[in-house]
């Protein structure tokens, strides 16, 4: 007999993907498949300089020698890399103002709840919207330009600032790094580029929205953020994808470089299509994100709220090279139905007095599997390094799994590392306490889970915190029983 909880669970988990719609936009497509001609096609379409072709081809040749990693705790059928379309770009380009943007694209963003104009006027957010692969509209450029901040699409950066791109592209995540990074290096079509000059504090949150639209297209964006000495920038990334039955591949690379005294905050809200309730379709999100604190006292902070994707394979990391640099990782990962997430971080302490902090909250419901996998490595020279790690998992229902696989390697006697992890369900006593005070079960659960995630959500910029809470509400309220 179904209990009241089961009914509640059923009713609430029924909430289907809100952002599943397909927009008809004229797109320019590359033929399906991957070979050197496709890479030349992408390179040609993007009108890139010769050195980019060489770099892409080197990456491609290296990729062909690599094997797909199998160590993550995720299960999926083999991916046919020759059955994917590697380039899809809206045909209408060269927009001068927001008004010229394809109304269809504008409609998509409106549905997503990020109307460009409204944000421009009210929130003061500069949005570099990426639809499929090419940048469609870039706002607030002029305001940023006055401060010397470069915020543009990757393709534009390759054209206009080749010396910066050549110097830093692949310096944190080389194309030899891993299978998906190599693939990305070969075929990436676009992404965002940010450069903040010395001593400049970026006055607004830089924001971009990625959205995978065309069927059977993988999205391979590439983001490069450089914060020069003493600068500060906060970058927001949000992702959605329409409903597609087939699994779509997304293999992005994000590189962050913080020089002396610079600070980069990188926030992600990822709510790509997770597949349906039976586990059909959904996005394969295989992302390499890494930042390096090159200079002294630099700081890189990752915050992520991961509620989407059929499979998430993602470890935003920080290499703490400069003395006294700081790395942070705050994460909420929620999986439901048949979703699988294998996510975490790596903190590599190289410099003296480096500090890192990891707070990870995993929530598993339905038949999903949620894994935290992290590495804290204190190298010989990292005197007085400090790490604190906390990873908590919450299980909802007995058909899901929550796992914790941390790796801690300490080679320095003056360093201190602390790791703690807990796994539990929502306390009956907590629920009882709320119920006793007249709070409905559903609200009580939302309240408790919200409190559970608060530590991470508090690190999101205002604009995102609201959306993240909404997202959790949609996915979470429903799954707690």
């Amino acid at each position: 007999m179904p209990t009241q909880q089961d009914e509640l669970l059923e009713r609430l988990t029924g909430s289907e993907y809100k952002y599943g719609f397909v927009a008809d936009i004229d797109e320019e497509l590359a033929p399906i498949g991957l070979n050197e001609d496709i890479i030349r096609f992408i390179w040609e379409r993007k009108g890139e300089p010769e050195w980019m072709l060489e770099w892409r081809l080197r990456a491609f040749r290296h990729w062909r020698t690599m094997e797909e990693p199998r160590w993550a705790k995720v299960v999926y059928p083999p991916i046919d890399y020759q059955a994917i379309r590697y380039y899809a770009a809206p045909k209408k380009r060269h927009v001068q103002s927001l008004e010229e943007v394809d109304p269809e694209i504008r409609r998509i963003f409106d549905k997503l709840g990020i109307p460009l104009e409204e944000q421009k006027l009210l929130a003061g957010v500069a949005v570099d919207a990426v639809l499929d692969s090419a940048s469609v509209a870039t706002t607030f450029k002029e305001k940023l330009a006055q401060l010397g901040i470069i915020f543009c699409s990757m393709s534009e950066a390759i054209q206009k600032y080749p010396e910066l791109v050549q110097r830093y592209l692949g310096s944190v995540v080389p194309y030899t790094d891993n299978f998906f990074a190599a693939l990305n290096s070969a075929v990436f079509s676009d992404g965002s580029f940010v450069y903040v000059p010395p001593g400049v504090r970026c006055p607004m949150e830089l924001s971009t929205y990625f959205r995978i639209n065309a069927a059977r297209t993988g999205q391979f964006e590439r983001t490069l953020i450089i914060a020069d000495e003493g600068s500060y920038v906060s970058y927001l990334e949000g992702c959605t994808a329409p409903m597609r039955d087939e699994n779509q591949l997304h293999a992005a690379v994000v590189e962050l470089i913080a020089l002396d005294g610079a600070e980069i905050r990188y926030s992600t809200v990822q709510n790509w299509y997770p597949g349906d309730r039976e586990g059909r379709g959904g996005i394969y999100n295989f992302v390499t994100k890494r930042g390096i604190c090159l200079g002294k006292e630099a700081k890189i902070s990752w915050t992520q709220v991961e509620t989407g994707s059929a499979i998430t394979w993602k470890y935003p990391s920080v290499i703490l090279k400069g003395d006294g640099s700081i790395g942070e990782f705050y994460s909420v990962a929620l999986t439901n139905h048949h979703q699988q997430a294998d996510t975490g971080t790596k903190m590599i302490h190289i410099g003296r007095h480096t500090r890192s902090r990891i707070v990870s909250k995993g929530i598993a419901a339905g038949r999903s599997n949620n894994t935290y996998r992290g590495l804290v490595r204190i190298l010989r020279g990292a005197d007085y390094a400090r790490n604190y790690t906390q990873c908590d998992s919450l299980l909802i229902g007995n058909a899901c799994g929550a796992h914790t696989f941390p790796y801690i390697e300490v080679l320095n006697p003056t360093a201190v590392t602390e790791h703690e992890a807990t796994t539990s369900k929502i306390g009956d006593d907590m629920l009882f306490y709320c119920r006793q005070r007249g709070i409905a079960e559903e609200d009580a659960i939302a309240l408790i889970v919200n409190g559970y995630c608060r530590e991470v959500l508090n690190h999101l910029p205002m604009e995102f915190a609201v959306e993240a809470q909404k997202l959790l509400a949609i996915s979470l309220e429903g799954s707690v029983g």
Binding site: N398, V410, V416, S424
Partner: protein
């Protein structure tokens, strides 16, 4: 290339044994052994590319030119005087000499059987161990000269002492002791397994033990690991607990060139409990690698792990602990903690505390820390006139001792205390 070399020699030895099988011992023609050899041939010795062996390389242990054949038994009467590590321990009641069991004075409530004459293994061998995937378990099954099968019924007083000796006086020796222990329902036993090397040449001891705890049993098991710096000791324990069985296990690892402990604990009956403690200290180039795999298969079981480690010199301590909770194991409580202190800039500590959980009504936690001695505690002692060296020794002693405070036998506890004190250079007087 040392690795294929030993592997080839092992294969050749096995084939020779097959041909000249004179059934003096457990027959190499036994299907279990032949199957095990096939598994070992397929897997080979693990390398650091193997996830479970990521931090510990077997290569130095495989380098010596080991004798694979089992040498003649040493003189039992002389043995205790030749093994200084036996000092302070109760006298052994069962010897495993290069894997050959020699019972001496087993208590009446125990029943000893060797597989020497037994055709079929009962209880079955290898079913509570990952026999198909662990190369060293397969190697042991293929090469163990005999199986010491011990059954305990009723309550045992005092400590039952099993001493495992590998003789490496004239040639480096490879030994494969095999133990099968069963506690029948309601039995209770205190068991000491001590590991020794006779002689100063390299000794590779690949021990496998299977322990079955029946309903309402209680086992207190102490692993007293080798101190010889030429000892390579791989110990794999599979322990299955039935309903309401209680296991307490202490691992004292204060030496050995390479010590690796694989503990597979399986809580198969409701309300079973397992407590694992480890006190580890490495120095020189020594490596101690603890791997625990605690599997909760039934409801209302509790497991608790506390490992404390000190890494000195160029030593390496590795701890990999996995708590696995099956979907049916509701109301599980599982705890795990590894705390390590590094004393030098050349020492290494690796920790992988892992949780893999498929049931929702559980409470599982793990913690891992690594760092140096607490400066304020040192200062406190210094301000009271304790020398720096003694203050440090006191703190280190207290740190390790925490894992051994629950050791049940007074005599063993004192001996362990004294050993710890010696290792951290603490003057005996200050123990009081």
């Amino acid at each position: 290339m040392a690795i294929p070399d030993l592997q080839t020699r092992l294969r050749e030895t096995f084939q020779r044994w097959m041909q000249q099988d004179n059934h003096q011992r457990w027959s190499p023609r036994h299907p279990l052994r032949r199957h095990a050899l096939e598994i070992f041939e397929r897997l080979g010795f693990p390398t650091t590319r193997h996830e479970d062996w990521k931090y510990t390389s077997l290569a130095p242990a495989l380098r010596p030119a080991y004798r694979i054949e089992i040498p003649s038994l040493p003189d039992l009467a002389l043995l205790p005087s030749q093994l200084p590590a036996l000092e302070g321990l109760p006298s052994p009641q069962l010897w495993l000499l290069n894997g050959i069991p020699v019972p001496v004075a087993l208590p009446p409530h125990s029943h000893f059987q060797s597989f020497l004459h037994a055709e079929d293994a009962d209880p079955p061998l290898g079913d509570i161990l990952p026999s198909e995937t662990e190369a060293l378990v397969a190697l042991n099954t293929a090469f163990a000269p005999d199986v010491a099968a011990l059954t305990i019924s009723g309550h045992g007083d005092g400590v039952l002492h099993l001493a495992l000796v590998t003789t490496a006086a004239d040639e480096p020796q490879l030994a494969h002791p095999r133990l099968s222990l069963t506690l029948e329902a309601n039995a209770r036993q205190r068991l000491l397994l001590s590991f020794h090397t006779l002689g100063t040449l390299p000794a590779f001891t690949n021990t496998v033990a299977e322990i079955r705890l029946g309903p309402n049993t209680q086992l207190e098991l102490i692993l007293w690991q080798p101190e010889s710096s030429t000892a390579f000791a791989i110990t794999t324990l599979g322990i299955e607990l039935a309903q309401n069985a209680h296991l307490s296990l202490w691992t004292l690892s204060l030496g050995g060139a390479l010590v690796r402990n694989n503990l597979y604990i399986r809580l198969s009956g409701p309300a079973a409990t397992a407590q694992l403690f480890g006190a580890t200290m490495v120095e020189g180039q020594h490596t101690v690698d603890h791997r625990t795999y605690v599997e909760h298969r039934a409801e209302q079981c509790t497991s608790n792990q506390l490992y404390k480690s000190i890494a000195d010199g160029h030593g390496t301590v590795t701890f990999t602990g996995r708590i696995y909770v099956h979907p049916q194991a509701q109301k599980t409580n599982a705890y795990q903690s590894h705390r390590a202190v590094l004393l030098t800039g050349t020492a290494t500590v690796n920790a992988r505390p892992q949780l893999e959980i498929y049931a929702d009504d559980v409470r599982c936690t793990h913690g891992a820390t690594a760092g140096s001695l607490d400066e304020s505690a040192l200062f406190y002692l210094r301000s009271r006139g304790v020398s720096h060296a003694q203050a440090r020794a006191l703190l280190l002693h207290a740190f390790l001792r925490e894992a051994l405070v629950l050791l049940p036998d007074e005599r063993l506890r004192q001996r362990a205390d004294a050993l710890l004190a010696e290792r951290v250079h603490l003057q005996a007087a200050e123990l009081l």
